[in-house]
């Protein structure tokens, strides 16, 4: 009997232990993220923390919290139209948004219910970026003129979409402190000559000439200018040269030399303010000075000379005919 009792006790203990283990194990099984369309940045952060970190301080992460945006948005009476791009999933009918700011699902949508097994979708073409960055103020029209666009380069070749900043390819000891590193990375041939140029000597980099601001003003509190973007055709215009060289435009050699000296004296940076040119430029007006009668007479004389030489055989014949008729009379 003792043996049977021992067996029963053992079986009961085993069942209890198994039950407790089962309950504990059930409790510890992680719940998969709810497969809904309301994937928010918080859920993505669980795995993609490094992307989240770069995103939240960038323009996309700050699109609705940026103080410049808030002040100019409120100044205009908080129009819902701004939220189409500044928030995610704005519904004009109800005025509700899915999330504040440009969150993950703004670009990675529709969210895959089976992520991470299935990939989150992404359209890595300028079409996706162009959904918001389409306005002429964002220089889209200029961008389509550029050789970059025509060679099927996408926005993300130069721009990091998560941090909404330029990509970084700078190696240690890089000479350029700005986006020009990115230019030099591909345009190696141009960079072989450029460092020895006068421009490079005075600290001018690629973007100073090839990315001029041609839209918007410099006042950041102006609503229009907050959407301003540099000219993405990357083609410098005459105005670009004029920014520094207005004093040298068609000026005599003395003025060029004076401007060059002024550049050197100002510590090696080009002087942005143009110095007035002393020599008077000949006036060109829409009402030209009338030509004198002697000019017209001279011109007519020349035409007559030419006409006479060309028509001389017939004229001679006519003259003889007339003479003969008179003779016969």
């Amino acid at each position: 009997m003792a043996k049977l009792e021992r067996l029963i006790i053992a079986v009961v203990c085993a069942l209890v232990a198994a039950g407790v283990t089962l309950v504990a194990a059930e409790a510890q099984t992680p719940e998969p993220p709810a497969p809904t369309s309301s994937m928010t940045a918080d859920k993505c952060t669980v795995c993609h923390k490094d992307i989240y970190d770069t995103w939240q301080n960038g323009a996309h992460g700050q699109s609705l919290t940026d103080p410049i945006f808030i002040s100019s948005w409120e100044a205009q009476g908080s129009p819902g139209a701004c939220l189409v791009c500044h928030a995610t999933g704005y519904d004009p009918a109800t005025g509700a948004t899915q999330a504040n700011g440009v969150v993950c699902t703004a670009c990675h949508s529709p969210a895959s219910a089976n992520h991470p097994k299935d990939n989150m979708p992404i359209d890595a073409t300028p079409v996706l970026c162009g959904r918001c960055h389409s306005d002429p103020r964002f220089a889209t029209e200029n961008w389509k003129l550029s050789a970059h666009y025509q060679r099927n380069m996408t926005c993300s070749v130069c721009h990091e979409p998560h941090s909404a900043s330029m990509k970084s390819v700078a190696e240690e000891g890089s000479v350029n402190a700005d986006a020009s590193d990115l230019c030099a990375n591909c345009h190696k041939e141009a960079m072989q000559n450029f460092p020895t140029s006068k421009h490079a000597e005075v600290g001018v980099t690629c973007v100073n000439c090839h990315l001029g601001f041609n839209v918007g003003s410099t006042d950041l509190m102006d609503f229009v200018s907050t959407h301003k973007a540099p000219d993405h055709s990357f083609v410098p215009t005459l105005d670009t040269c004029n920014k520094c060289h207005s004093a040298q435009m068609h000026a005599p050699g003395a003025a060029v030399a004076a401007a060059a000296i002024a550049v050197e004296e100002s510590g090696g940076t080009p002087t942005p303010s143009p110095t007035p040119v002393a020599t008077p430029i000949p006036l060109v007006s829409s009402q030209p000075v009338p030509v004198s009668p002697f000019g017209f007479a001279g011109l007519a004389g020349l035409l007559g000379l030419v006409g006479g030489m060309v028509l001389s055989p017939w004229l001679e014949k006519l003259y003889r005919n007339l003479n003969d008729k008179e003779g016969r009379k």
């Binding site: 993609h48 770069t54 996408t154």
Partner: protein, 255 residues
Amino acid sequence: MSQPKLNRRDFLKVAAVGAAVVAGAQAIRRAEASTPAPSGGRQWAMVIDQALCNGCGYCILACRAHNDISPELTWNPVLEAGQVGGKEVYLPRPCMQCSHAPCVDVCPVKASEYRPDGIVMMDYDRCIGCRYCEVACPYGARAFNWKGFDGPNPAVPEWGQPEVERRPRGVVEKCAFCYQRIDRGLSLGLTPGVDPDATPACVVVCPVNARFFGDLNDPNSIVSRLLAARPSFTLRADLGTGPRVYYLPATEGNA
């Protein structure tokens, strides 16, 4: 105590048998080692257009991020290859995934092996770090991990997310055509070379689309069509390694 005497004749017999066994084993081993990669099924290949490559090095950075490589190592460098028609020409050099790979032949522990799709795979758990493969590779495609790589990867997250385990110190590393992307993509029903999620990271990131990827056994894949339409070359074809990375040369006309 009578000891069995080993006379001269017996000794020679034993020696001859022993020599035959050793020679036979050696012959079998060699035959095994020089077995080329299988050629049926899908055979992945890469085509690189030298006329388009401008040496920007995005492929190096994307490779480092997706394969979680130390910034001190490069699996996939872009070499300068002189000038054609006054224009710089570059030679991106991933692993050639040879059909007769010298690295597979010399590995004493079979850490390098052919996959059925032709990719030369490293088994980093098997590698003992003898570096024979590094010496044997005529392309210098192998990088030895002298130091363990700790800490954050500077190429992440800007250039991509790591997809494979970081290798320990003391193993030889190499490019494997981003096999993890190919395998995952195939399991999701994607086509490597067409769908970016199933294509090697260097091919996807290339801003000028100078790299192409696909199945050599599929006559409609981009690599098959390119190789049929344009002249191409492989590196050190004289060695008979049978590389699966083809180059479309830059010429005076297209550079």
